[in-house]
């Protein structure tokens, strides 16, 4: 059920992405210390932002679902979780691709990587619940609870992991180049990329949401048909 708003969002996303790609690969200057690899940053950071924002959407949808009991919120939470998982995976992959040439390792347990990995695990748990319990009538309520609990856990995770890493510092000095944006063109590029990825997230969310809503309606119709057939069969 694509509608005009979704289509317009799709076209805007395309345009913003093209602009962002041009800026990342042509316009923005190469960073001195890290070289070309640093350009991954302009994809990596927006992906991380989307991954965390999507998680927020999952949790807030969960709250609204438990409160208002509208199927729309359950579908929204599920859609946001799926898309968030994709972007969280991308954060980890782009991070690794950057880390290997810069730090020399594919992975390290520094506080930000560890927290993102735990977020990835939390997403995984939510999606496993969805896939395993898909035929359970209460799955929407269970998922809402898990989404809320996981979102509330994230601040505690950040706190504990940060403390863990200060007491046992990571082998490598981290934070290299993340906030050292000397050239204003780098800031602009990052902001444009952020906007493009946010639009992409919104567009994917709308598409997936409309699919899930159709699916939910179909399930209700099927259930009603089954009830009618069962009642008719009594005659």
């Amino acid at each position: 059920m694509k509608n005009k708003a979704t289509a317009m969002l799709g076209w805007s996303t395309l345009i913003m992405m093209l602009v962002a790609l041009f800026m990342v690969f042509e316009w923005v200057p190469t960073e001195e210390d890290q070289g070309i690899v640093q350009r991954i940053f302009y994809f990596h950071v927006p992906c991380a932002w989307v991954a965390f924002a999507a998680f927020g959407v999952v949790a807030i949808s969960g709250v609204f679902y438990l409160w208002l009991k509208e199927q729309l919120f359950d579908d929204l939470g599920y859609a946001a979780a799926e898309i968030g998982m994709v972007f969280c995976t991308l954060v980890l992959i782009t991070g690794s691709l950057w880390a290997k040439p810069i730090w020399g390792v594919w992975w390290t347990w520094d506080s930000r990587l560890t927290t993102t990995f735990i977020l990835w695990l939390l997403y995984g748990g939510y999606l496993m619940l969805r896939s395993i319990a898909d035929d359970t009538p209460e799955v929407a309520r269970f998922s809402a609870v898990i989404g809320i609990v996981a979102a509330l856990d994230v601040p505690v995770v950040v706190l504990s992991v940060r403390l863990w890493r200060t007491i046992h510092p990571a082998v490598l000095i981290t934070r290299a180049g993340e906030h050292g944006l000397e050239d204003p063109r780098m800031v602009v590029t990052l902001l444009v990329s952020l906007a493009a990825f946010t639009a992409l997230f919104g567009w994917m969310l709308m598409l997936r949401l409309s699919q899930l809503r159709t699916r939910s309606r179909l399930m209700i119709i099927r259930r009603d048909v089954a009830l009618i057939e069962a009642a008719a069969g009594d005659y």
Binding site: L66, I118, L121, L122, G124, G125, M128, L129, I132, A133, T136, P137, E138, V139, R141, F142, A144, V145, I146, I148, V149, A150, L152, D153, V156, V157, L159, S160, V161, L163, W164, I167
Partner: protein, 223 residues
């Protein structure tokens, strides 16, 4: 309050009479620690770190099974429906189940502490007493999470697999804080040295006991 006490008494009585879950939990903790002994090949120099690690691994995995067992029993004989239909406050029901889970885990942990002292050549002394705060706080947090999550997992297919998948990522902050504070205790440091870790455990417990009490009704209700 009366309802809380009644449900708690029921759970405790059922467990004391059958006794199988607690004994199985104890056996499982023992065996997990045996695996860790062979996995770690502990040296005397690392005994505080290895002992803390073994203790918390055993806590998490044995605790998971304990939580599942109690909720499965409720579902099997339809008790959970009876409890939901009764006018008992869901938060009181949650509190009772949480307390029962905590009690069982605490008993098993006392035995586990004795075991790690033997297996990892620790001293029976003040160090073990200093373990108590981190263990108690960690167990409470775990029981709070597991009671809520087991209510979900016991009503889905492959619930036994689903519970660890849901519980462990959520429990990670408590694992980090618990292991670190336990390690500090076993290394002979005073409690004040681990105050930040214990603070995290307290925050974790307050958060998840509150959240569990608020959300429990949504997971036990049947449509």
């Amino acid at each position: 309050m009366a309802a809380f006490a009644a449900v708690l008494r029921k759970d405790l009585r059922v467990e004391i009479r059958s006794g199988q879950s607690t004994i199985a939990l104890f056996a499982l903790s023992l065996l997990i620690m045996v695996v860790l002994v062979f996995a770690l090949s502990p040296q005397p120099a690392d005994r505080a770190r290895d002992g803390a690690a073994a203790l918390w691994v055993a806590l998490v995995f044995a605790g998971m099974l304990g939580a599942t067992r109690s909720m499965i029993a409720e579902n099997e004989n339809g008790c959970i429906r009876a409890l939901t239909l009764s006018p008992i406050d869901p938060a009181a029901l949650y509190g009772a189940k949480l307390t029962a889970a905590f009690a069982f885990m605490a008993i098993v942990e006392v035995a586990a502490v004795v075991l790690i002292t033997l297996f990892f050549n620790l001293d029976f002394g003040a160090d073990l007493v200093r373990l108590a705060p981190s263990l108690m706080l960690g167990t409470l947090g775990f029981a709070a999470l597991a009671t809520l999550l087991a209510a979900i997992s016991s009503r889905t297919r492959a619930g036994d697999l689903l519970l660890p998948i849901l519980a462990i990522p959520l429990f990670i902050p408590a694992i980090i804080a618990g292991v670190k504070s336990s390690e500090a205790a076993l290394s002979g440091f005073p409690l004040a040295a681990a105050s930040q870790w214990l603070g995290i455990l307290v925050a974790f417990d307050v958060l998840f006991v509150t959240v569990g009490a608020l959300l429990f009704e949504h997971v036990i209700r049947e449509d």
